[in-house]
């Protein structure tokens, strides 16, 4: 695979587009040239690991104790300011997670300006008020408002990805998101519409496109990440998840009804409402457990696959998330949060973040200090963020 380099801004990427359309630099728009230096054969192979390549393990140093204090104080301030402080709280919470994520002993940084996020929040809030008023006075038109929301959602997602990337930095080099808005519209409007017509068969492909949109478009400074995953694998993952889902529903359903009948089910019980309620709750809880496993299985497999098929310059990644562990963490987190009336939210978040980060390995042929910043964004590093005000937690 040849490396492409942009002479104008220094961006380098190993993205290969057979149609040759994307020989235009996604960063600055000038044309890309094939880098003189060529990689040895076989670099596409994940198994390939030259002996000199160094392994880096991200370290997560956040503590539930400390994060609890930060979370409580910031939630309190958010509530007493009737939500205005939420933007500052968001920056602080996120910064805590970033700063405690160390790679090669250097932390990540979240540099967003809270005022920019406040503006975004205000825009979203006014949208919600418009929806509420329409729903209230002209319920017939509220569908139109919802429709409009879905029309601007891809724009918001695109802006949000750009904003988050721009405000994430490592070793004083900012990340960037190079995706375009058209693609965002294709992914968040066109494919969801197709779901209906394809009876859901397109869902794995849609999941693939979403991941591709992210993994193929983020860049660290001047170095763009390239993603060589295939949709076929997503179909395999979804199929296995679906099979596990059906089998566990059948087994649990069988056990559930066997126990019910064994326990001496009488016709009086069936008409007894508290009896029905109790069993509905049990069945509902079992359903949550099965659905959670289904979600975590897909999340683990897809995340592992995507990282393993990415390379950021000479960096390669390995992710070793296990569906079972993620599932256990998730279920116990939900229980802990419910039983503690929300007080254990910070603990749950730290726990999950730690597990995910502890399972990522970064392999590099060179030292981590060889990355270049993207010059254009470097000049105007500050102040750019004001125009891109959205920061949503998108389930990537």
């Amino acid at each position: 695979m040849d490396n492409l380099i942009c002479k104008n801004c220094g961006l380098s990427t190993s993205k290969v587009d057979l149609k040759g359309i994307s020989h235009i630099c996604p960063g600055c728009g000038s044309s890309l040239e094939t880098e003189v230096y060529k990689k040895e054969n076989g670099t596409d192979d994940i198994q390939m690991q030259s002996e000199e390549s160094r392994l880096y393990y991200p370290r997560f140093t956040g503590s539930a104790n400390e994060y609890f204090k930060i979370w409580i104080v910031n939630t309190f301030l958010t509530i007493i300011t009737l939500g205005i402080y939420a933007a500052w709280a968001k920056v602080r919470n996120r910064q805590y997670i970033y700063k405690n994520t160390l790679l090669d002993d250097q932390p990540f940084e979240y540099t967003a300006n809270p005022v920019a996020i406040l503006k975004g929040n205000l825009i979203v809030a006014s949208g919600a008020i418009i929806y509420f008023l329409t729903y209230f006075y002209k319920p017939m038109y509220s569908a139109i408002v919802v429709g409009l929301f879905y029309l601007i959602l891809p724009f918001l997602i695109f802006k949000s990805l750009k904003f988050i990337a721009h405000n994430s930095a490592y070793r004083n080099i900012r990340f960037r998101f190079l995706g375009n808005m058209k693609e965002s519209y294709r992914i968040y409007i066109f494919y969801p519409i197709l779901i209906l017509f394809t009876l859901g068969l397109i869902i794995p492909y849609w999941a693939f496109k979403k991941k591709e949109y992210f993994f193929n478009n983020f860049a660290f400074g001047a170095t763009a990440n390239s993603f060589n995953g295939k949709a076929k694998r997503f179909y395999k993952i979804y199929l296995s998840a679906f099979v596990i889902f059906i089998i566990s529903i059948l087994i649990l359903g069988f056990i559930f009804f066997t126990v019910l009948i064994k326990s001496g089910l009488t016709s009086a019980d069936v008409s007894n409402k508290s009896f029905i309620m109790k069993n509905v709750i049990i069945a509902y809880a079992l359903m949550i457990v099965v659905v959670t496993y289904f979600q975590q299985f897909i999340y683990a497999r897809i995340t592992n696959y995507c990282w393993e098929h990415s390379n950021l310059g000479s960096l390669r990644f390995r992710s070793t998330l296990k569906a079972g562990t993620l599932f256990f963490i998730r279920i116990t987190n939900i229980l802990a949060i419910i039983l503690s009336i929300g007080l254990l939210i910070p603990w749950a978040k730290i726990r999950k973040t730690r597990y995910i980060l502890n399972n990522i390995t970064i392999m590099s042929e060179k030292e981590l200090d060889d990355f270049k910043a993207f010059i254009e964004s470097d000049v105007s590093a500050y102040g750019v963020s004001a125009t891109e005000a959205f920061d949503f937690d998108i389930g990537l």
Binding site: F68, I72, V73, A89, R92, Y96, K99
Partner: protein, 351 residues
């Protein structure tokens, strides 16, 4: 003079350079490990990241370079010299003391309770009563359209019965809420069964099924008085506003954990919602009960029809914690208590 170790990143490449930072007067001097001067910047032109837990801190220079250090004590002095009296300094003060965190937690609980118990209901009440009529009419019209489309059919009741009830209704609403606009209409609804609704515009709907199971017009008077009370006190609008308020409150509390919100936030919303509605039902029952007592008919007929509705509506959520109607038994009990108290009071006054 302060001197401490840091890593220098120029912002152009990802390589870090171990450096010493040296504060002399109002200027910081950065020098490499072997003492070579690299940069000197007036302290006030630097941007220092606010303290946050035990995380490392960043000193940003005007040229885009930055220094990262774990020497928190040293940066703290720098920050103080810099005049770091920012909002985040105050926030950090709260965050780093368990006592302050405890106070914030208590404050949080108190504030949430005040908001959900008093502020939101009060604000909803104010807004509901200040809404102009043409707006509530518009809202009721569209709600009726939806109800008619989804659940209701044209009434098949005898016109004589309808007119008789309409006459009774006219007297009733003039006595409970004089001078306001009210209208009574009938609909058939096999789907809903015996029931009645009130829309904010003053339109009261009674199902044919309800008229059929009633044994006495006094029973229906109880129901009608209950519905008129809902309109008089604007319960419908108030519950819409209150529910939205609670929803906003909960989403701002748990907003940070989107994934958990789905389960975590719906439960408290449901609980709060049913709590409010129960209060409104009680208020409406009380109005109906007092009206019946005042007329000298006792609350008995109303009690009877309530019990009958419960038996007839199959899906009446008797034991559900989330039911918005207080359990029929409880409502009947409250009505009886109301009547007993009234009798005691009246006897006291007479004597």
């Amino acid at each position: 003079m302060i001197m401490f170790k840091a890593s220098y990143f120029d912002g152009k490449r990802s390589c870090g350079l171990p450096v010493y930072i040296n504060l002399q007067g109002a200027t910081i001097y950065i020098q490499s490990e072997d003492g070579l001067p690299l940069l000197s910047v007036p302290l006030r032109e630097c941007e220092i990241s606010p303290p946050l837990g035990k995380t490392s801190r960043t000193i940003r220079f005007p040229n885009g370079a930055q220094c990262e250090t774990v020497d928190l004590a040293a940066v703290e002095t720098l920050w103080k010299n810099h005049g770091g009296k920012s909002l985040m300094n105050f926030v950090n003060c709260l965050e780093s003391r368990w006592k302050m965190v405890g106070i914030c937690l208590i404050g949080l609980v108190i504030f949430v309770l005040i908001l959900s118990k008093y502020a939101i209901p009060l604000a909803s009440k104010k807004i509901a009563f200040s809404l102009p009529h043409h707006l509530t009419d518009e809202l009721s019209r569209s709600t009726l359209e939806i109800l008619d489309y989804k659940y209701l059919k044209t009434s098949v009741l005898d016109d004589k019965v309808k007119n008789e009830l309409k006459d009774i209704f006219f007297v009733l609403h003039e006595e409970i809420d004089p001078g306001s606009y009210y209208r009574l209409e009938f609909r058939k609804s096999p789907l809903i069964g015996p029931n009645a609704f009130a829309l904010p515009s003053g339109l009261i709907l009674i199902t044919d099924e309800l008229v059929e199971i009633s044994q006495d017009n006094k029973e229906l008077i109880g129901i009608m008085a209950h519905e008129v009370a809902h309109v008089k006190y604007r319960h419908g609008l108030r519950s819409v506003f209150q529910n939205s308020g609670i929803f906003l409150l909960i989403s701002s509390l748990f907003g940070d954990v989107t994934s958990i919100t789905s389960i975590g936030a719906t439960l408290p919303t449901l609980l709060a919602r049913s709590g409010y509605s129960r209060e409104f039902e009680r208020e409406a029952d009380q109005t109906a009960g007092l009206y019946l007592i005042q007329k000298g008919w006792s609350t008995k007929p109303y009690q009877h029809i309530l019990m009958r509705i419960t038996k007839n509506v199959h899906s009446y959520p008797e034991e559900s914690v989330f039911s918005s109607h207080p359990i029929a038994q409880e409502r009947v009990f409250d009505l009886q208590k109301l009547e007993d108290n009234k009798i005691i009071k009246d006897t006291l006054i007479k004597n």
